[in-house]
C-alpha cells in the first residue's frame, strides 16, 4: 500500500478527534541544529471544508483496533479499510509537511493493537525519531493510551507537548452500553497521573532549570455529544469538575456523526447535533473565562440548553434584578456578564473609563455589541436613546442571526416570542428547527 493510500485511510479514521489546537507552549528554536518552534497562542495553518481548524497533521498510527466501541469509526466490527504506518513513515511525513509550513506539528493517536503497552511503545518510537533523529522542536500532541503502564505514559509526557485521554462518554452507564472494553477508571487513571506529573514537573522546573519538561502544553480530553441520553447539565458539570480536579487545558465536544453500521445508536441519516455542540462550547467559555459555574448556566430543572438563546443571554434574561449596570462603575466581573460584552471589550472598558466617561458611541469603538448590550446597561445613568423595550424586540436582538433566519423562514417571527414559559406549540415548532441547525 502506498503512502498516499495509508494517509487517506488513517486521516479519515482520525478526523472525529476535535482537538487540533497547537496552543499552550512557547518554545523558541534558538541556536539548536534542528527545526521548529512553538507559539503559545497556537497557529492555524488551514481550515477544512467543515470550518474546523487544521493545525496539526492529525493521523492514527493504525486503525486496526482490538476494541469494539460502538460510537467509534474504528471499532473492530466496522467494515472499513485498515492500514498501519511505520514510525519512520509518520516522522518523514511530519517533517516534510512541517518544512513546507503545511502544519504546526503532529497529533498522533492510534487504535489498540496487541496491547495498550505495545501501542504506547509504538507512539513513543515515532516521537523519539522526531525529537532525536530530526531534532524536531515543533508541537506534538499525543494520545495517552488508557491501560498503558505508568512508566510508558511518563516517557510519552517528556516527548509530547500536550497529552490527552478521551473520556468520550460522560457517564459510566453510557460507557457500559457503548464502550464495553473501557471503564471510567481506565480513563481517569492515566488522566490523574498526567495531572500529577505536570504539577510535580512545575516544581522541578523551579528547582532545576534543566529538568525535562512534562507535557508543557497541558492535558485535554473529548466528549461525544448526542450518542447517549446524557443531558447538557451532566456534561457541563463533568467538564467543570475536570477543569478543577484535573486542571485540564481544554475539554472538546464532538457532535456525534453516525459512522458505518451504527444501528445501536442512531439512524445513519440523522444529522449531527451541531447546535448542541455549539452551545456546549459557549458554556465552556463561560466556565473558563467569564467566571460562571455550571450550576448558574443550567440546573436540575433546566438540564438542557435553550436552543434559541446562547447560555450567557439566557442567564442574563433570567436575572433581571441585576440589571441595568452602569458601565462607568460596574466591576469587571459584572461587565463580563453583560450580553454583548466579551473579555476584551470588558478589559478595554476598564482601561478607557479611567480616562474619560464612556457613552454609547464610545462603547461601539471598544468593540461592544450594542444591539445586545443596550438592554442591560446604562451610560452615565442613561438608557440608550430611542430604546423601546419589548420582550419580542429584545429576544430578536439577543438571538443569533442564524436562529432568527430559521424562525423567519418558518414564519414564526412576528408572533409574540417569550423567554419564559413559551407556549408548548411554539416549543414543539422550535424543536423541529433545532435538529437541523
Amino acid at each position: 500500500m502506498d503512502i498516499a493510500e495509508k494517509l487517506k485511510i488513517l486521516a479519515d479514521s482520525a478526523k472525529f478527534d476535535a482537538a487540533c489546537t497547537s496552543s499552550g507552549v512557547n518554545r523558541a528554536g534558538g541556536h539548536s541544529d534542528g527545526i521548529g518552534n512553538a507559539s503559545s497562542c497556537g497557529i492555524c495553518h488551514s481550515f477544512a471544508s467543515d470550518g474546523r481548524c487544521i493545525s496539526l497533521l492529525k493521523v492514527l498510527m493504525t486503525n486496526y483496533c482490538l476494541y469494539d466501541c460502538k460510537y467509534c469509526i474504528n471499532r473492530r466490527s466496522n467494515d472499513i479499510p485498515r492500514a498501519r504506518f511505520t514510525p519512520d513513515e509518520i516522522a518523514e511525513l511530519t517533517i516534510n509537511f512541517y518544512r513546507r509550513n503545511y502544519i504546526e506539528g503532529l497529533f498522533l493517536s492510534s487504535g489498540i493493537i496487541q496491547s495498550p503497552d505495545y501501542t504506547c511503545e509504538q507512539i513513543i518510537e515515532v516521537l523519539t525519531i522526531l525529537r532525536v533523529k530530526y531534532k524536531f522542536n515543533g508541537y506534538i500532541h499525543a494520545k495517552a493510551i488508557p491501560g498503558a503502564s505508568p512508566e510508558l505514559i511518563e516517557k510519552l509526557g517528556t516527548l509530547a507537548d500536550r497529552m490527552s485521554v478521551n473520556i468520550e462518554l460522560p457517564s459510566q452507564k453510557s460507557l457500559d452500553r457503548l464502550a464495553p472494553d473501557k471503564s471510567k477508571n481506565s480513563i481517569l487513571l492515566p488522566m490523574g497521573q498526567i495531572t500529577r506529573q505536570i504539577q510535580q514537573n512545575s516544581y522541578e522546573i523551579i528547582k532545576y532549570k534543566s529538568a525535562p519538561k512534562f507535557a508543557p502544553a497541558g492535558q485535554s480530553t473529548q466528549m461525544i455529544i448526542g450518542a447517549t441520553p446524557d443531558t447538557d447539565f451532566q456534561i457541563l458539570r463533568l467538564s467543570e469538575a475536570m477543569y478543577k480536579k484535573y486542571s485540564l487545558k481544554r475539554v472538546f465536544y464532538s457532535a456525534y456523526v453516525p459512522v458505518g453500521d451504527s444501528k445501536f445508536i442512531k439512524p445513519a441519516d440523522e444529522k449531527p447535533p451541531l447546535l448542541r455542540e455549539h452551545r456546549l462550547y459557549q458554556a465552556d467559555w463561560l466556565l473558563r473565562f467569564y467566571g460562571f459555574t455550571a450550576g448558574e448556566i443550567l440546573d436540575e430543572q433546566h438540564q438542557d440548553f435553550n436552543p434559541l438563546l446562547d447560555p450567557k443571554c439566557n442567564w442574563a434574561v433570567h436575572h433581571p434584578e441585576l440589571f441595568p449596570l452602569e458601565i462607568n462603575r460596574a466591576p469587571y466581573e459584572m461587565l463580563l456578564r453583560v450580553p454583548g460584552i466579551g473579555v476584551k471589550s470588558a478589559q478595554r472598558i476598564i482601561v478607557a473609563r479611567r480616562q474619560a466617561k464612556l457613552d454609547y458611541k464610545d462603547l461601539k469603538k471598544l468593540g461592544v455589541v450594542l444591539k445586545r448590550a443596550v438592554y442591560f446597561i446604562l451610560c452615565m445613568g442613561k438608557r440608550a436613546d430611542g430604546l423601546i423595550y419589548t420582550e419580542t424586540g429584545m429576544m430578536r436582538q439577543l438571538m443569533s442571526a442564524s436562529v432568527v433566519r430559521e424562525l423567519e423562514n418558518n414564519g414564526y417571527i412576528g408572533e409574540q416570542l417569550s423567554f419564559f414559559d413559551a407556549a408548548p406549540t411554539l416549543e414543539d415548532r422550535i424543536k423541529c428547527l433545532t435538529g437541523e441547525m
Binding site: A11, A14, Q355
Partner: protein
Amino acid sequence: MSYGRDVIYSYDGTFDGLMCCVFECFERKEMPAEIIIGEPEQFSFSEVRIVDTSAEKAVRVIRAVPQKITPDTLDTVHKMFLSCAANKDLLILQYLCKGFRFGKNIEKMLADDTVNAVNKAVFHCTHEAHLLKGFVRFSDFNGYLAAVIEPKNKVIPLIAAHFTDRFRNENFLIYDKPHRMALIYFSHKAEIAENIDFELPSASAEEELYRELWKCFYRTIGIKERFNPRCRMNLMPKRFWSNMTEMREELGLYEVSQNRITQKNERHD
C-alpha cells in the same frame, strides 16, 4: 496649532521621512490636511510643502517618543507604518501629536477617534501577519524553500522573526508580491529586500508528491456531514487561497499541476 490654512505635506515614503513630517508639524505649529508621498497627482488648491528627509531630525523625533510617550508607542507607530490604512501617514502624525500632548495616557484613551483608528489599523495588520504565519506555503526547490504571499499590509517585517526562528537551518525566501518585498534567509542571515521581482520556478516530482499528499490529507480531514463553507471562509478569507497548495483546486487553479502531469506523461512516452 493653526488648522485654518490647508497644507499638504509631501514626503519620500520612508519612515524617517514621516518622522520629519512630525518634526515639521511641530516646528511650524500646523496640522496638514493630508500627507502624500511624492508629487501631488492632481492640481490642488492647498499649499504643498515638500518635507525633506533629514536623518538628524528623524532621530530627534524617534528619541523623543519613548521618553515623552511610552516605549510601546514607537512599536505601535512602526506597525502602523506597515498598515494598508488609506490615511495611515496622517493618523501616525495625529497619534504622535496627541501622544506628545497627553503622554503615556494616550495608550489608554481607547475611545478617542485617532487612537481607535490607529488601534484598528494596527490590529488589521498584526492579525493578517498572524494568519500568514499559518497560511504561507513553501515549495522545496533543490533544498531551498520559497513561498509567495499577497497580503494587504506589509507583513514581511512582522513575520520575519517567526520564520527565521522556525526554519533556522534552512535557506528560504518569502516573496510579498503586491509590495515587491522579500524576506531572504540564506546561510543563517536574514535580510529584507525591496523592489524585487520573483516567480516561483516549476516544481520537481518530489515536490509534487508532497503537494498531492497534503491535498489528500486536506480533502480527507473535513467531515462531510458538517460541511460549512461559510465558516471556513470567515476564518480563512478567499483572498489567501490562490497561494495555498490545498485551496488552489477549489478556486479552479489546478491547471499548473495538470499541465505538469501531461508533460510528465509525454516524457515517459
